[in-house]
Symmetry: C2
Subunit: 339 residues, 2 copies
């Protein structure tokens, strides 16, 4: 197996900078759209043969150095009792959002083997076929809580924040339950064979540093220490460049950063104990190949002093991205970092 | 006139910390909704008597230390030839977005006295009645460019970034025209009597630090030096906490920061030549009065070493905010900073 990605996660020397792309199995690929044309999004996540198929697609097409399990961060909360739907244009929608104590107590304790058997099955199918490491993942507890409280995506997170500012005890109770669930799910993924895990904190940037420290960081720490694993843990606190010093305390082996911070500045904050992942603006892939190459070069140089660097976008690849832009990025990373 | 706000902008000693609220004349106020019930949003902006009336409302109701001209950052680009509408739920919509060179060349050069006479008229009405300073404003060129290119609000700014990454010359041409227009509008507002101006860069945070330095900062600098004024200039690069070191180069007297950065960290970056404005999470106003008071206290302490501090939210007040939350914040700022 090509373990360049795992070496970079651990801060070991590599022959070149490994690269993968958040949401690399996705709508920008015609091959993915062909599979999705036959099956709904949630069914795709829950059908091991198909989930494995779309997980493998970008590895073949883009030549990335890691695969990421095809699934969704909201799958486990559906199993906890949230009524989840995916609308084609509006994204996730939850019919029974959490607004009171009863609805928090009502959440089911999850047993991954029983409630999410397709996850381990997909992982086992993939392990047999992959020649690069497989990344498992979970949503971070705050990010999952926002979907559960808001009932979907949100612009200002008014319901979530109102709970934090009016009923912090209830919010902590919800976070506690989510933390237990996440530890359980990540352990199950590791047991099934994933080689690394990433915790996606898509909405961490909605919090002030003070609120992040009080209402999210302790739970992320508990997860990372609680999964008791040797596999590398990547933490992605999106849009949190001005509080990276707090994310450093999470205990993660790798911090993934979005594009709103210069990667050299981020490396300085992370120090020599944590590897970095990132951080090309996803829209760069809509640009000319010269621009893509130039920006890849800038980021490789900016990350030169990192303990380890895994190249990635600063956020998920966008649905309308030209495939040739993604290919150009991966090629540029491999070529320019080998010199 | 109570000039505490202006003193803080200039870094002079004040008896207490002045406070105002971005979008303080807005839908959260029943008094505002009463006026808006009779007239469309754009008509309200363009009717001096009514615009002055809603500008004054929060000064009376909240006892804030500054008023801000009621208008919209998109009004001048309408006068440049963009077909602008405001949809009740979806926000601004532009029917003829800029996608090619011809549409940039077609933009009209603006003459504020002729094209936007209502702006100076509103300012003149207000100056007679206000006992606190009046803030004029403009959108920053990048932020205005995104609306013109995307045709409204945007999530990922794909059209704007594609222009930057494929046709940077055309983007620079558009920015050049916007810069000239903004200088002209701000000069006209200052001539009509505003006591300070704020440049709203709502979407600055969509840019990487490298792109900000190349595609926005030079224009903001040109505006701030180009208006050749003694009135304080406030620059608000929203969601840019990890590139505040660049915003410092803008030449602004005050930098306004959002809530994603600890204010003490921001003060350290701004140094002793620039005052700070901000930065309470707007959703805090949905919380208990105890929480509001506690968070106000934290921010006042965090900003203790600032050259000058103008208290504000980290972004505009949200439409559903309870008025009593806003009142509690203003009272807490005045009381706690007077001690």
């Amino acid at each position: 197996m090509n373990n360049t990605f795992l070496k970079a996660c651990r801060g070991e020397k590599t022959d070149y900078t490994p690269v993968w792309i958040m949401r690399q199995a996705g709508r920008y690929l015609p091959e993915y759209r062909r599979v999705r044309g036959k099956v709904g999004f949630l069914d795709l996540c829950k059908t091991p043969g198909l989930a494995a198929e779309v997980t493998l697609q970008p590895v073949d097409i883009l030549k990335v150095d890691a695969a990421i399990l095809f699934s969704d961060i909201l799958i486990p909360i559906e199993a906890m009792g949230m009524k989840l739907e995916f609308h084609e244009t509006k994204g996730p929608f939850i019919d029974n959002p959490i607004r009171d104590e009863a609805s928090v107590w009502r959440l089911r304790t999850l047993n991954p083997a029983e409630d999410l058997p397709f996850v381990a099955e997909t992982i086992k199918l993939l392990i047999k076929q992959l020649n690069v490491p497989l990344i498992g993942f979970s949503g971070a507890p705050f990010t999952l809580a926002t979907y559960m409280i808001e009932g979907g995506s949100s612009r200002n997170f008014v319901n979530t924040k109102t709970m934090i500012y009016r009923n912090p005890g209830l919010f902590h109770l919800l976070m506690d339950k989510l933390t237990t669930m996440i530890i359980c799910c990540l352990k199950a993924q590791i047991e099934a064979g994933v080689h690394a895990v990433q915790i996606f904190d898509t909405w961490a940037g909605a919090l002030s540093p003070g609120d992040f420290r009080e209402f999210e960081l302790p739970y992320v720490k508990r997860i990372i220490s609680g999964i008791e694993t040797d596999v590398p843990v990547i933490y992605f606190p999106n849009n949190s460049g001005a509080m990276l010093n707090l994310a450093v305390e999470s205990g993660a082996d790798v911090i993934s950063v979005d594009w709103r911070i210069g990667i050299a500045d981020a490396v300085t904050i992370l120090g020599d104990k944590i590897s970095i992942q990132g951080n090309l603006d996803p829209t760069t892939l809509f640009g000319t190949h010269d621009i893509i190459r130039e920006r890849v070069s800038d980021i490789l140089h900016g990350a030169a002093k990192a303990r380890g660097h895994i190249f990635n976008l600063g956020h998920g690849i966008l649905p309308d991205t030209p495939v040739e832009g993604a290919v150009a990025m991966v090629d540029a990373v491999h070529e320019l970092s080998s010199k």
